[in-house]
């Protein structure tokens, strides 16, 4: 699927590029480079760590997360990722994977969710959060996204997410759509998925969490959105804030039917 996408893209590149064959060859070489990295994705390390953390008794209540309800009942981790974010009756909120893990870490383990949400990415409990999210996502690998939209609040969050996606602001007037609102575009050499519709298997929403080779970091969806907003010249979105969850609903619903490849490996 990835290859097919890349090939289409190369073909288009030839048509529109005036730089001709040198351009095409560079693009092909980079595709080869990306293919070389697929075997041996360091995300495996985080996946293994996450599985261990799920079962490990931790926190003031010395409990594991094995009774955590991620949407399909307590303890079910297979297939939950491709149905998140969704509405949870106990919290009366729409939650994404990381937001829901926060809830479980607080209710089951007695950890302080607000403190964890405030912790910068890559520090302390946030590292555990990323590992957990990586493992849970990996347990839905190759499954197709199918976010529930039956509850009124799930519909409301989709609509809010759509408005956030098109919100132009900041020093550069950028919205998410500035870069992700058209087909077959790229920023520098990075192809940009069109996230206003289904961008296909393993593309966009369906490719995170992912290991980023540029900085050797494992990123969950929350960090992915956070860094998009940073580059968009927006202020800082709170971890698991309603804005990030609503945006996740918009992207996730648009990706309906696409297979998740998470955890992926990215530039």
């Amino acid at each position: 699927m990835k290859t097919k996408n890349a090939l289409t893209w190369i073909a288009l590149g030839c048509l529109v590029s005036t730089a001709g064959w040198a351009q095409k060859s560079a693009v092909q070489s980079i595709e080869e480079y990306r293919a070389m990295l697929q075997d041996g994705n360091p995300a495996d390390l985080f996946e293994a760590k996450g599985e261990g953390l799920w079962k490990q008794k931790r926190g003031p209540k010395n409990a594991s997360l094995e009774q955590c309800d991620l949407g399909k009942g307590p303890g079910v981790f297979k297939g939950v990722f491709v149905e998140l974010p969704r509405y949870f009756a106990d919290t009366k909120r729409v939650q994404d994977l990381e937001s829901r893990l926060l809830t479980c870490m607080e209710t089951l383990q007695g950890l302080n969710a607000a403190e964890i949400a405030k912790t910068p990415f890559g520090k302390g409990e946030q590292n555990n959060m990323t590992a957990l999210a990586t493992w849970i996502a990996a347990e839905s690998k190759d499954m197709k996204f199918s976010l529930p939209q039956a509850h009124a609040q799930e519909k409301v969050f989709y609509e809010v997410g759509k408005r956030l996606f098109f919100q132009r602001a900041g020093a550069h007037d950028f919205s998410c759509a500035s870069c992700h609102g058209q087909d077959n575009t790229r920023i520098r050499l990075q192809d940009l998925p069109n996230l206003t519709k289904n961008p296909g298997d393993g593309v966009g929403f369906a490719a995170w969490p992912a290991y980023r080779v540029s900085n050797g970091q494992m990123w969950g969806m929350q960090q992915r959105l956070n860094d998009c907003y940073r580059q968009q010249r927006f202020p800082y979105p709170g971890f698991a804030s309603d804005a990030t969850v609503a945006l996740g609903v918009y992207l996730g619903v648009n990706s309906k039917g696409s297979a998740s490849v998470a955890p992926a490996i990215k530039r």
Binding site: V16, S17, T18, A19, A22, Q23, A26, K92, R93, A114, A117, K118, A152, Q153, K155, V156, E159, V160, K162, R163, L164, F166, Q167, R168, A169, G170, A171, H172, D173, F174, S175, A177, S178, C179, G181, Q182, N184, T185, R186, I187, R188, L189, L192, R230, Q231, R233, F234, P235, Y236, P237, G238, S241, D242, A243, T244, A246
Partner: protein, 217 residues
């Protein structure tokens, strides 16, 4: 954190009541709800203040059009373009063209104005992120049109000539405030929003229009 959630929750509950369970969510309330969620979710970080989300009428109108999925009506678009055109500051020394070499450096840089940048980080022009410019740089984006041979295609042999004046002025104006010519352009308003200063805009104009620039080779 806790407090913020509470606020959002009460707003949400209200929206849920209004929206009911069967009817489609009401657009006006969704706009209000989105604004409330934005307020509760974003915070100041580094040099970026949450207040940058209180944007101007141009962005508001274009965002609303994007959400609706249809372009602005012609009258509104023209009015927005006129408003933006008025903000264009023309070169105080009358010199539209600077040094194309400096322009190339600015075009290459995508730095500045994120919350990880410092206040004294020199801002880049971000040009290559979206445009092909010189033939030598193969790492270019395609969100905007190719600018290779920009001056040549437009027949600019001498940028200081009277014949070239309209193109030179348009180029300056477009970089200073892109929305003066296309109300909902994806392009930032480099001069208007203080991303680039007058001499930097002149350098980029030179990159595009100077016959000696690799753009026009």
């Amino acid at each position: 954190m806790k407090k913020q959630y509470k606020i959002t929750l009460s707003v949400l509950a209200a929206a849920a009541v209004v929206a009911g369970c069967a009817t489609a969510p009401d657009s006006v309330d969704l706009d209000k709800l989105t604004a409330d969620i934005v307020k509760a979710s974003f915070r100041d970080k580094g040099i970026v203040k949450a207040s940058v989300l209180d944007t101007d009428e141009t962005n508001k109108a274009c965002s609303a059009a994007d959400v609706a999925g249809k372009p602005l009506d012609e009258k509104t678009a023209k009015a927005i373009e006129a408003t933006n055109l008025k903000t264009v500051k023309w070169p105080t020394n009358g010199k539209f063209l600077g040094d194309w070499k400096e322009g190339e450096k600015l075009a290459q840089s995508g730095r500045g104005l994120t919350w990880t940048d410092k206040a004294d980080t020199p801002n880049g022009g971000n040009c290559y992120n979206c445009h092909q410019i010189t033939k030598e740089e193969i790492s270019f984006g395609t969100i905007g049109p190719s600018l290779y041979n920009y001056g040549k295609i437009r027949g600019v042999a001498d940028p200081s000539s009277a014949a070239a004046k309209p193109v030179v002025e348009y180029t300056w104006g477009k970089i200073w405030n892109s929305k003066a010519y296309n109300a909902c352009s994806n392009m930032p308003r480099a001069g208007h929003m203080g991303i680039l200063n007058e001499s930097q805009v002149a350098h980029i104009v030179a990159l595009l229009l100077d016959p000696k620039s690799p753009v026009n080779k």
